[in-house]
Amino acid sequence: MTIPERPRLAPEVLARLHLADGEAKVILHDPRRDVVLEIEPASWMVLRQADGTRDLDALCLAAARSGLYRGEADLRALLEGLAEAGVLVDGIPQPAPPAPVDAPARDERRPLEPLPGYRFACDGNGSCCRTYGSVTFTRLEALRARVTAERMTLPLPADEAFTPLSGGDPESWALAVAQVEGRCLFLEGDGLCGLHRRDGALAKPFPCRFYPAMLVDDGVAVRVSALPECSCVYASAERPSDDAAPLVDPGARTLAELGPQATVVHVPDPVPLSPMRAGSVAALRAFSAALVDALDGTQDAAAVAWGLAAHIEARGLEGATVEAAVAPARDEALPWLSALGARAREVAGVEATWRGGSDRSRAVAAWIAEALADPPWPLEATDPAAEAFYLRSLAHGHRLAVEGRPLSHGLRDRATRILAARAMARRGAPVEPQDARWPLAPLEAAMRNLRLSPYADSVA
């Protein structure tokens, strides 16, 4: 395999430092081809020098200066392996041509519309800190964390624990922290954040403080909804505790007041409704509002999502209400469940090759795969209120319209996820007690974190 003359890690590749079963390793994940590679930390230190300006000789010299040189053959073998996996590019980044269509501009004056009546409280269990592969820090936040970490006992030195959020650029402004058995490096044994414990909430990076809020700009307002990926989100919907609080600062009225770090996703205009239809953003707003109002836990959420998908494909958003609910027949749902199950089995196999035995994500992947191997039928709701909240939160946040798929496809995907969570409630080994209560939470998190979501693209 030919090595690029001046190799550099492709900017799409995610490099993460993990301590798994006590062994330090760096995992390179290329989401473009779903390639997962494992390299040694020493190899990563060498690879960081491959910035697109150095050829093999210069990389040998750079490695020698860092005390990491193990011979040209060693370095060549590393680079050949990475080149074969397609994760290297040649030379320094070139300026990209302008996009054919401008991205929607961020409008700081846009008013905020939080999910009506919802208040959130974290249970302090730390399950979200054991779920996500990328806990993102700015360089300043990472610097602060390193200072705080001087008062912590960590299994890895904090000043070596950050990798670029993507690619190999050592000057990257966004960094991801190392994980220990799939947990954030700074998570302590009692489930609390070591940074928060020592220096308060502001010591944590912004995404951790903002979680689980999600912002979607629909051109009229910024919808604030909750990512339904954590059991606390569902527990808060069921019975908000006394210390529950709005998802974002209740004093904030506009996007500007949330600060520049608050990421906003834009609803496409027109909105893709189905392969053959598109609709206006105004119609989507009306559809979402009606759904949020109507879903009260008395309906079968899977039937609502499935029926709405069929209705939208046939007639668009006109008349698309919960009255359109139609439960999928077994032979309609099975291809979707099978595709999700196949994807889960594939991912579970890959994760098991490098994650440690106590890693939550590894166990979640195995649970989903086991639950969906020949899924039971019928799959009746075990927690209609939680499922209704799930759809309400997604609808309020226009989540089904911003994931790159037509709305109808997104609805079938969500109906499948609800059915899959029902299967998980009946079969397989829940990872933790709160997972047994709200299996939708780990399933939703796995869709993003464990790359299960592309299953929906494989279903016609």
Binding site: D57, A64, Y69, G71, E72, A73
Partner: protein, 144 residues
Amino acid sequence: MRILLTPPAGRDEVDAAALALGWSLANVYPRRDGRPRQVVYATGEALITFVDDHRVDARYLVLSGHDPDALADAARETLPTLSEAAVLELAATDRVRALCWLGVVGATSPAATRVIEEALESDEAPVREAARFAAEALGWEGAS
């Protein structure tokens, strides 16, 4: 001082020796025009240059320092090397290559000198060419 490596030993073997003997990689000169590729290693008091000499199909080390003998001994213990005597034996079967390599090892024995002198008078052009290379190489810096 120059040490000729036994084929096919090359960069990988020298890298391994460098790691074992504590030589640090210091520089790499790529092959350019007539100049062979050279990889330079350093210790606290000596330089070791690995030369991948495409001109005479030879790979050798050039040791420089105020007392390279100990370094040479360590290199010979760690790497497969060809002595002057071994190169002279090669002359019986591969005269042209042996002549070039005699120059590389900085041959000093009367036998080697005789072989080179005879070759300079040879009727065969490649042999004369190789002998001229050897005579010139004997005068290179670090020949012995």
